[in-house]
């Protein structure tokens, strides 16, 4: 798994490449957790190169959503592939998160 963070004027984008599983999820959390505390941030997780996500990754997504929105920010998932999109549907995440 690789994580790249791009800060733009209007939004901060996290690009995740590869697999977020039980082994790699703690690395993802360490890489992006500091962003959750920013006030009024628009945090975008770009999933164009995300191949797989297990419940350990979904927990980070839910935590990010809760913390970012609690600080008046916006949390967005972008460019999900079919398989990752299906996991979001199964878990009901697609109903509660903003997916573009």
């Amino acid at each position: 798994m690789e994580v790249k963070i791009q800060k733009k004027a209007t939004e901060t984008i996290v690009f995740i490449t590869g697999r977020v599983d039980t082994v790699t999820a703690p690395e993802l959390e360490r890489a992006i957790v500091h962003l959750f505390a920013e006030t009024g941030i628009t945090l975008v997780i770009d999933c164009v190169s995300l191949e797989y996500i297990s419940s350990s990754g979904l927990r980070i997504i839910l935590t990010a959503h809760k913390q970012v929105t609690a600080k008046g920010g916006k949390f967005v998932l972008r460019n999900l592939n079919r398989e990752v999109g299906q996991v979001m549907n199964l878990t009901g995440f697609s109903r509660i998160l903003t997916i573009e």
């Binding site: 697999r19 599983d21 039980t22 082994v23 797989y52 297990s54 419940s55 350990s56 979904l58 927990r59 839910l62 935590t63 959503h65 809760k66 929105t69 609690a70 079919r82 398989e83 299906q86 996991v87 199964l90 878990t91 009901g92 509660i96 998160l97």
Partner: protein
């Protein structure tokens, strides 16, 4: 066609990496779709990581076995460990209908297993947890 394979894993979290290769190889041999292979990977990761995290006292080394067999259109996974008794079929699901701020962080793993697989069964046999997960193809 009848097929049977078995994978042995240590109770260490890095062993999760072996699961992906195992299920991908089986999936390709059986001509399963990418979507189904990823779903099965998800199920096995949730089931195996539960055992690795919770079945044994910290610092102890143990072997977990995962067998897979295919008969006609049934794919059956059997996960066996000698850890403390634990019936995954008894874990309540996460409530996926709640709004985001009320959603609990845990409970998703077993929910995903139930959603993806067609039949789950647990047995405690000879001091071992035996978790059977079946998928109709």
């Amino acid at each position: 066609m009848v097929m049977e394979k078995i994978l042995f894993l240590h109770n260490e979290i890095v062993e999760i990496n072996k699961l992906a290769f195992f299920i991908e190889k089986i999936g390709n041999e059986l001509g399963l779709s990418t979507e189904l292979i990823l779903n099965l990977n998800l199920v096995l990761e949730e089931a195996v990581s539960n055992v690795i995290f919770y079945a044994y006292p910290k610092g102890e080394n143990h072997i977990i076995s995962l067998s897979v067999s295919k008969t006609d259109n049934r794919l059956v996974f059997v996960l066996t460990d000698s850890g403390s008794p634990f019936d995954p079929t008894k874990i309540p699901d996460a409530d996926t209908t709640l709004p985001a701020n009320e959603r609990q962080i845990g409970g998703l793993g077993i929910f995903l297993i139930r959603q993806i697989m067609d039949k789950l069964e647990y047995q405690r046999t000879n001091g071992k947890n035996v978790f059977i997960m079946e998928k109709q193809l």
